[in-house]
């Protein structure tokens, strides 16, 4: 977290490592679609394109990976790191999402 805090507050700052994100969805289920849209909107707003990376995993086509990541419900966002951070839900609560992804510093 301390490293995250040291990141520049500017959008296009590429001083820190790339944010690696993995979103588990259940096909085109509404909450899953909302979660993907909300996440993309936040990232595109606050981060430079090269500073974030998102993998979307559909549990219907790839349930094994969900079991590997111990995912129980969809949508669940996984921030890969040490430790991993998990966020369940459609990511409509922006503050909570920002807090979990440690992106508060980029918020204007």
């Amino acid at each position: 977290m301390k490293s995250a805090n040291s990141l520049s507050s500017q959008k296009n700052s590429h001083t820190s490592e790339v944010l690696n994100l993995r979103l588990y969805v259940a096909g085109k289920s509404p909450n899953s679609v909302h979660a993907l849209n909300n996440l993309r909107a936040i990232c595109q707003e606050l981060l430079a394109d090269d500073s974030w990376q998102l993998e979307v995993v559909d549990i219907f086509s790839n349930p094994k990976r969900a079991l590997e990541d111990k995912i129980l419900v969809t949508p669940t966002l996984l921030k890969l790191g040490t430790p991993d951070v998990r966020i369940v839900g459609d990511l409509s609560q922006r503050e909570r999402v920002l807090a979990a992804l440690d992106l508060v510093r980029y918020e204007e």
């Binding site: 289920s29 419900v73 969809t74 966020i87 839900g89």
Partner: protein, 882 residues
């Protein structure tokens, strides 16, 4: 978070990391839970197989089930609401009131009818209801909560029916309701509700009461009406009778028995035939439905009395017209019928009496009258024969005036029989009807009795005919026996006898009247003849009278005159007729005479008498004594005719004037002696005075006084002489002058002093003071006074007292001169004549003194009156106007 992970040996850092990890997991889990609960999760993964379960499908399934259920609920609810609505509407619409409770007695519903009947809503519980009315049993006891049908049904778990309750509403209205209550039980037999229904029977109740009252009234009426009321059933069995009916039947009534039993009631037709029970009016009404009104019948009572009944009967029908019986009303009209029969008889009687009246009034002869009247009598009092007899007292016979008989009779009109004791006249005159049971007991001629027997006459009734107390005759009715007479025959006969007697009397009076009229006519004829004779006599008197007589009309024109009048006036009757009588008078007298005639024709005078001058045809002026008398023919006082009587008094008048002159001379003679003395006295005085004067003249004394006396005496003597001269002189109209009457009287008294002394008459002279001067002719009045004084002295030959006085009068103004002597007085018979000419009681007098005096006084507009009493004296009173 696996348990094995916790059992790993851990260092501090790891420990811290692990705590941090756990906290993070906790936060993540919490957030995940939150996301799950807020619906942000799409699918759940099976932790064992990793098989995802999509959350949205489960939800859709769940919602679908829920929606189906909800739809069902809504539909059921709507159905329920609808049926509820219907139910409530139904309950509200039903015409009975309804109260519904739940299982514990809480009142949960009332319908509109209930609220309307009770005038209030009802809430609360059965035990403690909240409402605005109070409830009572019909007997007035208040209902306790447990008495309510609702409460009883709830408590007892069974229905309660038809409880009558009186409701006293808040608005004061009272209603009677009929209540039933039933519990409603569920399948397990528990009471879940109680419903009470009730209806307003106030009107029915009132009607019922009214009906009961009506019945009670009807019962009372039936019990008390004077008519007998009988009610029978459709078989005509008697169901009911009222007391009046029992009284009319007057025997036990066969209640409930068959029709035939009615025969025991002994009902008959008016002609006496008994009724068949089937023909009775009540039977016909009950069986044939006939209404019978005013039917008359008879009933025979056990005691033998037969009563008249008036019957009305009518069938009694149900509403559908079926006959269920009949009612009969009976009236006992026996008394009424009897009265009616009596009345009819009475009416007939009056009718006949009236006819008799007419006959009696119009019949000219007794025969004619009896011919009409006797049959009428026989109609009212049936008999074999009716006859009228009268009495010929002079011949001692009875005369049969008229007869009307059932059969041919031998005893006819005009029959005469000896009047003997058999008629018992003394009894008859007492206006009593005489009944003879058996003719043979009378002392009548045997042939008469035999003849009557042939006509089946064995008894008879004799009624006296009495008018104004006189027995005119008898009305005889011959009959077989007396048993069948009407009860009122006496009245009838007496009344008819009265009429008949009046008729007979009237007839007789008429005869008498005729005779009387004839007599009167004869009398009138005789009288007329006498009158004619009388008139002829009067005509003769008129024509032959030596006094002129004329008949004058209202204007004084001659209508008729006699020969004497024609001779007096010198004109013929033809010349005189139509001329006015006054045209023949002397011009100086015409006016006075016309005034008198006018007074006569006005009715102010009935007659007048006058001496007047007239001019004959030959031009001679002559004196007539004329008397004209008014003949009053009508009530009107205007003159119709006057009779004038005229006499030529020229010669008579001349001789009378000569007589007056002679009288005057006689008076003068009578005065002679007195006058000589009167004159001698003053002369003696004069002589004495003059002698005295001569004597004292020599002595040089004043002689004037004596000379004055002498002069006065001489003047007195001269006055006396003057008067004497006046007396002998022809009277001529002298002018009146104002004179002192007292002085004149004194002078006259002086003239008669000597004569009074000679007769021993004492004169008391009382003159009135302040007497006014009176207009008079001095000498003439003195002549009057002298005359009265001398008469007074003559009336007292043996002396006496003479009161002479003057008095003033006011209405009219004048002076009374009164001469009252206490001499012999004048006979009352002669008193009226003393002022007439030539009337005297003194042998030497001419009887003109008072006559002249009266004329003189009247010339002065005065009066002279005399009053006298034999032996007490005479008073003359002269009044002269001032």
């Amino acid at each position: 978070m696996k348990a094995d992970h916790l059992e790993e040996p851990i260092d501090e850092l790891t420990k811290e990391k692990r705590i941090e990890d756990l906290a993070r997991q906790l936060v993540e889990t919490e957030a995940a839970l939150q996301a799950l609960t807020t619906g942000q999760v799409d699918a759940i993964l099976d932790p064992d197989s990793g098989q995802p379960l999509l959350l949205s499908e489960a939800q859709i399934e769940l919602r679908r089930t829920h929606d189906e259920l909800m739809q069902q609920v809504r539909e059921r609810t709507a159905e329920l609401a609808h049926s509820n609505l219907l139910l409530q509407a139904l309950i509200d619409t039903i015409p009975v009131g309804a109260l519904i409770t739940d299982s514990v007695g809480k009142i949960i519903s009332t319908n509109a009818t209930a609220r309307n009947i009770l005038g209030s809503d009802v809430r609360g519980t059965v035990e403690a209801p909240e409402r605005d009315y109070t409830s009572y049993f019909p007997n007035g006891t208040r209902l306790r909560p447990q008495d309510y049908p609702l409460a009883r049904a709830l408590k007892e778990g069974r229905s309660v029916h038809d409880v009558e309750i009186l409701i006293r509403r808040a608005d004061g209205d009272e209603r009677t309701i009929l209540v039933s209550a039933s519990p409603i039980q569920n399948s397990s037999g528990e009471t879940v509700s109680v419903i009470a229904v009730f209806q307003d029977i106030t009107k029915q109740k009132q009607n019922q009461i009214r009906l009961e009252n009506e019945q009670a009234r009807l019962r009372t009426i039936i019990e008390n009406v004077p008519e007998g009321i009988v009610v029978v059933d459709e078989q005509c069995r008697i169901l009911l009778t009222n007391p009046a009916a029992d009284k009319i039947y007057n025997r036990p009534v066969p209640f409930g028995q068959e029709l035939e039993s009615h025969a025991s009631l002994s009902l008959c037709y008016p002609d006496g035939r008994p009724y068949e029970p089937h023909d009775l009016p009540l039977t016909r009404s009950a069986m044939d439905g006939v209404t019978i009104k005013g039917h008359e019948m008879l009933i025979d009572w056990p005691d033998g009395q037969r009563r008249d009944l008036l019957v009305n009967t009518a069938p009694i029908r149900k509403e559908d017209g079926e006959i269920i019986g009949a009612v009969g009303a009976f009236q006992d009209i026996s008394d009424h019928k009897q009265s009616q029969r009596r009345l009819e008889r009475l009416l007939r009687r009056l009718e006949i009496l009236h006819s008799m009246d007419k006959v009696i009034l119009t019949a000219m002869a007794i025969d004619e009258m009896l011919e009409a009247v006797l049959p009428m009598i026989r109609e009212l009092v049936p008999c074999q024969r009716a006859s009228t007899i009268t009495f010929d007292w002079e011949a001692g016979e009875v005369v049969l005036l008229g007869v009307n008989a059932e059969v041919e009779t031998q005893l006819k009109k005009g029959l005469r029989l000896p009047l003997d004791e058999g008629w018992s006249l003394n009894k008859l005159t007492q206006e009593e009807i005489r009944l003879v049971e058996d003719l043979s007991t009378l002392d009548l001629p045997p042939s008469l009795v035999e003849n009557l027997r042939d006509e089946e006459v064995h008894s008879f009734i004799s009624v006296p005919l009495v008018a104004q107390g006189e027995l005119m005759g008898l009305l005889n009715l011959g009959m077989q026996d007396l048993s069948r007479l009407n009860p009122d025959y006496q009245d009838i006969l007496l009344q008819m006898a009265d009429q008949l007697a009046v008729g007979i009397q009237q007839n007789r009076l008429q005869d008498e009247l005729q005779r009387h009229t004839q007599m009167l006519e004869e009398l009138v004829e005789r009288r007329t003849a006498a009158l004619r004779a009388s008139e002829a006599r009067f005509r003769t008197v008129f024509e032959d009278s030596i006094i002129g007589i004329a008949l004058l009309d209202m204007q004084g024109r001659f209508i008729d005159c006699n020969l004497a009048l024609q001779e007096i006036l010198g004109y013929s009757e033809e010349e005189l007729r139509g001329t006015v009588i006054t045209t023949y008078l002397h011009p100086d007298d015409i006016v006075a005479e016309e005034d008198l005639y006018q007074a006569l024709s006005n009715g102010e005078l009935n007659y007048y008498q006058d001496e007047t001058r007239f001019i004959r045809k030959d031009g001679q002026v002559r004196w007539s004594g004329l008397t004209i008398t008014r003949i009053k023919r009508t009530m009107d006082s205007k003159l119709n005719f006057a009779i004038a009587m005229m006499e030529d008094i020229t010669e008579k008048r001349a001789s009378q004037e000569a007589l007056i002159q002679t009288e005057r001379l006689t008076i003068a003679g009578r005065l002679g002696a007195s006058l000589a003395h009167e004159i001698n006295n003053p002369l003696q005085s004069v002589i004495g005075c003059l002698g005295l004067a001569e004597e004292i003249l020599d002595e040089g004394v004043e002689v004037r006084r004596y000379l004055e006396i002498a002069m006065e005496e001489l003047e007195r003597a001269a006055g006396i002489v003057e008067q004497l001269r006046d007396l002998g002189r022809e009277p001529e109209m002298q002018k009146k002058e104002l004179a002192d009457l007292n002085a004149l009287l004194e002078k006259t008294l002086l003239l008669t002093r000597k004569r009074c002394q000679n007769y021993g008459v004492e004169v008391n002279w009382s003159p009135a003071t302040d007497l006014p001067l009176i207009p008079l002719v001095r000498d003439r009045i003195q002549q009057v006074l002298l005359n009265i004084l001398l008469n007074a002295v003559d009336a007292m030959p043996n002396g006496g007292q003479l009161q002479v006085s003057t008095t003033l009068t006011s209405q009219p103004e004048g002076v009374h001169i009164r001469f009252a002597d206490n001499g012999v007085g004048i006979d009352p018979d002669k008193l009226p004549q003393i002022f007439a000419p030539f009337y005297t009681t003194q042998p030497q007098g001419l009887g003109l003194g008072l006559y002249i005096s009266k004329n003189i006084v009247e010339e002065h507009g005065g009066t002279i009156d005399v009053e006298s009493q034999i032996g007490e004296g005479t008073t003359f009173t002269v009044w002269l106007p001032s």
